[in-house]
């Protein structure tokens, strides 16, 4: 009787686990094995779990890279503007190495015609490491070990939550596959919201810019240059997103303004030298950065701004060149000074 019990238990358990594994492999809500199965839509909304799978397994020739401020772009806007098929490679508070990791993964088995790169100033100053092997990340989706896929295959969250959501979303007629990772629909953008979510830091006497920071910025810029140089077949569209005056206020109070202005100019100088690189700056677009009604906090702007940026990428109004970048950076410096010294008083008159 005991032997029969053991046999039954092992066969039943193995069969049930294999069945569950097969369901997960077929539905594959994190796209770890394949692009959406026949009849299913690309339901993409959880960057840490899905980005790497979509980058490895989807068919595309345009890649949009960036941090959370890039999440509200609709991939279709890029497709229409540039005649390509775009997907996103998103990482919250992404370092340069984070985004270049995505890019390298994409180049493994894709020929990229376009890379749209949201160039955050903080990423240029970030440490030179990527965070995909960190504790807390689903490392089993990033490495190439088959054995640890058990964490994905036998995972009740995947089975009871992500697969049902994927199926339900696929059944929706109006599900927008281009709106991957978008969150703007859940937020409100107004001056009140921006101020409510802004924790003004105390003024720091320290100046966060020395030789160490300079070297870090130079090294990050070098990585971008290296990537652009090694892929002359790709058109790189880098763009500095417009941070609000509240963001510049916090940067200024923490003594980081000089470092960020240096980063912006250093990257501009290096990147404008390449013919396959197009660098745009929206940092000094006053109508946006001084209008807090377009923000939900100090740096996250509404999807209307995202849409507007894509339209500008088709033209040359905000294009930085070897000839004009110094002038544009000087204009940015002057604007930052004005915003942090006088414009900000509208919101914090006591200072």
């Amino acid at each position: 009787m005991e032997k029969k019990f053991i046999k039954r238990f092992l066969i039943q358990s193995l069969s049930l686990l294999l069945l569950i594994g097969a369901v997960v492999v077929f539905a594959d809500p994190f796209y770890h094995y394949h692009a959406p199965a026949a009849g299913l839509k690309a339901v993409v909304y959880k960057a840490e779990y899905q980005c790497i799978g979509t980058i490895r397994n989807f068919r595309y020739d345009g890649l949009l890279l960036g941090s959370s401020v890039a999440e509200n772009y609709n991939n279709r806007w890029f497709d229409e503007a540039f005649g390509c098929t775009t997907i996103k490679g998103i990482k919250s508070s992404a370092t340069t190495m984070d985004l270049l990791y995505y890019l390298e993964e994409a180049y493994q088995n894709h020929e990229l015609g376009y890379v749209f790169y949201n160039l955050d100033l903080f990423a240029l100053k970030a440490e030179q490491k990527h965070h995909f092997a960190d504790e807390g990340m689903p490392v089993y989706l990033y490495n190439h070990m088959i054995l640890d896929d058990v964490s994905y295959l036998f995972n009740k969250g995947v089975l009871f939550e992500y697969i049902p959501y994927q199926l339900a979303s696929s059944l929706k007629q109006d599900y927008d596959e281009g709106a991957s990772y978008n969150w703007a629909q859940y937020k409100t953008f107004s001056e009140a919201d921006a101020l409510l979510h802004y924790e003004r830091p105390p003024v720091s006497a320290a100046r966060d810019f020395g030789e160490e920071e300079r070297q870090l910025i130079d090294a990050n810029v070098a990585l971008l240059v290296q990537m652009a140089e090694s892929h002359p077949e790709t058109e790189f569209y880098f763009f500095y997103p417009p941070y609000s005056l509240l963001w510049w206020d916090s940067v200024n109070r923490e003594g980081r303004t000089e470092a960020y202005l240096y980063a912006a100019e250093r990257a501009a100088k290096a990147l404008t030298a390449y013919s396959n690189v197009h660098l745009y700056s929206f940092l000094a677009e006053e109508d946006i950065v001084c209008n807090l009604n377009l923000y939900m906090d100090s740096m996250h702007f509404s999807a209307d701004v995202n849409r507007w940026i894509v339209e500008q990428l088709k033209g040359s109004g905000y294009l930085l060149t070897e000839e004009n970048y110094k002038e544009e950076m000087a204009r940015l410096g002057a604007l930052v000074e004005r915003m942090t010294e006088s414009d900000i008083k509208k919101y914090f008159p006591q200072d």
């Binding site: 032997k3 019990f5 039954r8 238990f9 039943q12 686990l17 995972n155 009871f160 939550e161």
Partner: protein, 501 residues
């Protein structure tokens, strides 16, 4: 390595079992034992190879102490003193160094710096295990074992990092009994059942309750009375399912290898007094303290006052054993008070004799029993507040909130923070169909989980559920479903609470 991990279930355990029974089958008994020791050391050092040096060093010292006594009984006192100093010294350095430094700094306003030493897993368990062996050896109650047997006793992985605290007399004879090396279908089948029960206790119950507990203890100041009661009860249940689940798994794995590991829990929340609680909760720790501290101090043989003093010493040490923090000491102190109160009460009010009880109706007896159980459970829950709190101050703040009498439905806020993958679809349906009742729905889910957990904690023990049960086809399906449900719940689950002790 954790029992509740894919690598353990799908790789480590099958390899260990195949190697053990394969080598024993071809009569390579000693090689099989060495293989099991090697696997146990891999299990132990999985997270950090530095642990290996600590456990091997500790084994080497204790083994040499035992060897010193071989043929030289005159050295007993020296070896006993050396054994106590070395074992408690090792524990002191790794576990209590920083605690002592903090106290010295506080008392003498000194500026000593701590070492932030990484606490080796299960050091309290294997240290006590070896200490008991050395003491028995000095008392002439233990022989000098061969190195393979000794290492098998200390490192046998099912009980290595979180107990039960086994005695050499329980384990080594089993390794020496070659009849036990043959595969036994009954032991193996019940071993599987114990393991599945333990795994599900840990993964399905303890980790679910942990959601309520973690949120509650992160927002102590905001708790109202009902929420504080819910959080305190949830923690008592979480701790029970966590630790007894681990022990069930250990017992189950032991049985798969043909080795019987002693029980560590016997429905503790059914206890009618704090004293009885300690006969049912973490029984092997209680046995250690009774045999090696309480009885040598005089036990209950030297009058009421001395009994109370001895009891308090044992529970203060027990508190300190659980963690180098005053919140644990206070927890131990409270239990010492509870047990002492039982002792004093019994001096003045002797236990009712069976004859006098016979006259009472069954209802009255049950009512009295229920009241005692409820009072004991309440006491245990309150004391556990300090066990879980980050500091004594947090513990008192929690009690203040618990007795505040405030009620502003904070349970709903806790319930809002929790999510259960199994209930994702029903919750989505609720969101769409009855959005106005979503919060109530979440709260009732939370309370239902608590209710079911209480029923299970106050119900039959794993042993009562399993022993002598017919292993039918229907039961194999129950075990299968429980196992598979637990396996798919492994990702993202918390670590065992008792690893920190």
């Amino acid at each position: 390595m954790l029992f509740n991990s894919y690598i353990f279930i799908f790789l480590f355990l099958p390899i260990s079992l195949l190697g053990w029974y394969g080598l024993n089958r071809i009569k390579k008994y000693r090689t099989a034992q060495i293989f099991l020791i090697a696997m146990s050391l891999w299990f132990y050092a999985y997270f950090n190879s530095y642990y290996l040096a600590v456990i091997l060093g500790s084994c080497a010292i204790n083994y040499l102490l035992s060897l010193m006594l071989d043929g030289k009984p005159a050295l007993r006192k020296v070896v006993l003193a050396a054994g106590c100093v070395v074992n408690l010294g090792i524990l002191g350095v790794f576990k209590y160094y920083d605690f002592c430094v903090e106290n010295l700094n506080a008392v003498f306003h000194a500026g000593f710096t701590g070492k932030n030493i990484l606490l080796p897993l299960g050091i309290s368990f294997f240290t006590f295990q070896q200490l008991s062996f050395v003491i028995d050896r000095c008392r002439g109650k233990a022989p000098h074992y061969g190195l393979t047997d000794y290492l098998s006793f200390v490192t046998f992985f099912p009980q290595l990092i979180a107990g039960p605290i086994v005695l050499h007399t329980e384990i080594i004879p089993q390794f020496q009994d070659l009849d036990k090396r043959k595969w036994n279908g009954k032991d193996f089948a019940y071993g599987i059942c114990y393991f599945v029960f333990g795994l599900s206790k840990k993964v399905l119950l303890a980790d679910t309750l942990a959601g309520i507990v973690n949120y509650g203890f992160s927002e102590i100041a905001k708790l109202d009375t009902p929420a504080a009661v819910m959080v305190a009860v949830s923690f008592a249940l979480e701790l029970y399912f966590d630790f007894s689940g681990y022990c069930d798994m250990a017992i189950g794995i032991g049985r798969m290898f043909g080795i019987k590991i002693p029980d560590n829990f016997d429905a503790p929340y059914k206890s009618v007094s704090v004293k009885e609680f300690w006969r049912r909760w973490h029984m092997t720790l209680g046995r250690f303290f009774t045999q090696y501290v309480y009885i040598p101090l005089g036990g209950s043989r030297k009058g009421t006052l001395r009994t109370v003093v001895n009891t308090m010493v044992v529970f203060l040490l027990s508190g300190l054993w659980h963690g180098a923090d005053y919140s644990f000491v206070l927890w131990g102190f409270l239990h010492g008070l509870g047990v002492s109160a039982n002792v004093i009460w019994r001096r003045f009010v002797p236990a009712p004799k069976k004859e006098t009880e016979q006259g009472k109706s069954g209802f009255l007896k049950r009512l009295r029993r229920f009241a005692c159980q409820a009072a004991t459970f309440g006491f245990v829950c309150l004391a556990f507040v300090f066990f879980r709190s980050d500091s004594v101050a947090d513990g008192f703040l929690f009690l203040k909130r618990l007795f505040s009498g405030d009620s502003y439905h904070f349970i709903k806020y806790i319930a809002d923070e929790l999510s259960y993958a199994e209930l994702y679809v029903p919750t989505k349906i609720m969101t769409m169909v009855f959005p106005a009742f979503l919060r109530e729905y979440r709260m009732y889910v939370c309370l239902a989980i608590l209710f079911v957990s209480m029923l299970l904690a106050f119900g039959r023990t794993t042993k009562e559920r399993l022993e002598n049960r017919m292993l039918t086809a229907a039961f194999s399906w129950k075990m299968t479903l429980l196992f598979v449900w637990s396996v798919i719940s492994l990702t993202g689950v918390s670590t065992f609470l008792y690893f920190n002790f």
